[in-house]
């Protein structure tokens, strides 16, 4: 290859890269709002599924408190706590919890607890787990997440907050142990944190 060809090829390749990046940026720009809206709608649906709409009398999606990036909850970015009120008093909160070490990447959850620290519900917001195996954590694929409501930091006891394979009380799935294990661990960690720092969640 002559040097002239090399520099010409390099320039062309760079130009092609710039054009493709430009196109992708353009599409990103036009879909950005729709993506945010889709994420928001999914979140709204998720909150309603773990804190029943008729149990509170406030607009739960608007009634938020900021939650700073937090290692105990696995959150790398600042986020929000959604507060459910009855007659002005916060009786439950929903907040994001991330299991950072899922089988194929972070698993983003939404956890709802009441003032006593009991779990009201858990939802998977997004994940990258294997279709057909790890994705049974989704509530529409199996009712595995129904194992959690009613549990709290002391129920089951500390040693039992594990999947059955590790000697705990929570079922895993056939063919997928890592996904349930990491979720159980992330939720347990979050409950311990919520017990130690209730003010983070329930202060006005």
């Amino acid at each position: 290859m002559k040097p002239g060809i090399i520099s010409r090829s390099g320039l062309l390749l760079g130009l092609a890269g710039i054009i493709v990046i430009g196109l992708v940026t353009l599409v990103y720009h036009f879909t950005h709002d729709a993506i945010e809206e889709s994420e928001y709608q999914a979140l709204l649906l998720a909150i309603n599924s773990i804190i029943p709409e008729d149990s509170h009398d406030n607009d739960i999606v608007e009634d938020t408190r900021s939650l700073s990036a937090n290692k105990e909850l696995g959150l790398k970015k600042d986020s929000l706590i959604y507060r459910a009120r009855k007659q002005g008093e916060i009786f439950a909160v929903a907040f994001p919890v991330t299991a950072p070490d899922g089988y194929s990447g972070p698993i983003n959850l939404l956890l709802a607890i009441d003032r006593q620290g009991n779990i009201l519900g858990v939802r998977v917001v997004s994940h990258l787990e294997t279709p057909g195996l790890g994705d049974r954590i989704e509530s529409r694929r199996s009712d595995w997440l129904q194992l959690f409501p009613g549990k709290s930091v002391d129920n089951p006891s500390h040693e039992d907050w594990k999947v059955k394979k590790d000697g705990g009380v929570f079922d895993q799935f056939t063919g997928a142990t890592i996904t349930p294990r990491k979720i159980v661990k992330a939720i347990h960690k979050a409950l311990i944190y919520a017990e130690a720092e209730p003010g983070v969640f329930f202060d006005e």
Binding site: S9, L12, L23, T31
Partner: protein, 235 residues
């Protein structure tokens, strides 16, 4: 235009090649990673198939339009760039407008970029042909690939879950319902797991070979008959 002898305009051959004779999954045996991973249910298979087809059509068209301006030495990196660009665009669009489907397919949408069938068509067809045949090739190959994905999806979903079109509503809207073929079906886990996908693909490949063989013997058995008619003396 430099090589008019390379330009293919035999559209029915292009379509037949894509759907059957040179099917990306069954004849070229390319793109097996998504094929095996996402064919657990019909809807997942169909969704990934359609997404792959869109990328294939777009990349074939782009490569064909640009083929005279792309120097031979750097054609592969440029094809990769073009394909990666379209995959990212399709990913953004799905994320924005088909959010549920996007969360279901997860990592396999960006992984379309690694589907060798796509770069195979860019290199093997679109870089030598006019835009229209290239688009038709993209559609045919995409349909051929989607067809195999869906066939495998049907096999695996029926065996593993006893249903068809589970979660169809996330792709097609609320009117779509799941068909339950067997009530209280215990499930056949092997079909849902990756080995089940390999075995299923093996059966499909065998089936294609059997059909091809049958068609060949039928063709060849016609020839002696006609020669016999012309030469009645031959025993």
């Amino acid at each position: 235009m430099n090589n008019p002898e390379l330009i293919s305009t035999d559209y029915s051959k292009i379509v037949q090649d894509g759907l059957w004779n040179n099917n990306p999954a069954l004849a070229q045996v390319l793109g097996l990673c998504p094929l095996l991973a996402v064919s657990g249910t019909v809807i997942n298979a169909m969704a990934l198939g359609v997404a792959t087809m869109l990328v294939l059509i777009a990349s074939n068209l782009a490569v064909s339009l640009l083929r005279q301006y792309i120097p031979n030495e750097i054609r592969i990196p440029i094809f990769v760039l073009i394909i990666a660009g379209f995959v990212t665009i399709v990913e953004h669009l799905m994320h924005a407008y088909l959010y549920n489907l996007y969360t279901v397919l997860g990592i396999f949408v960006p992984l379309i970029v690694t589907n060798c069938a796509i770069i195979g068509r860019a290199e093997g067809f679109a870089s030598k042909n006019n835009p229209l045949p290239s688009v038709i090739d993209g559609i045919s190959m995409g349909l051929g690939f989607t067809g195999v994905l869906v066939a495998l999806g049907v096999m695996r979903e029926v065996l593993a879950q006893g249903t068809l079109f589970a979660d169809a509503s996330i792709m097609l809207g609320d009117w779509a319902t799941t068909i339950t073929l067997f009530e209280n079906y215990d499930g056949f886990l092997l079909a849902a797991l990756p080995p089940g996908a390999f075995i299923g693909l093996g059966f499909l490949l065998a089936l294609k070979n059997i059909i091809d063989q049958k068609m060949r013997t039928r063709k060849t058995s016609h020839i002696p008959l006609s020669t016999m008619a012309e030469n009645p003396e031959t025993p």
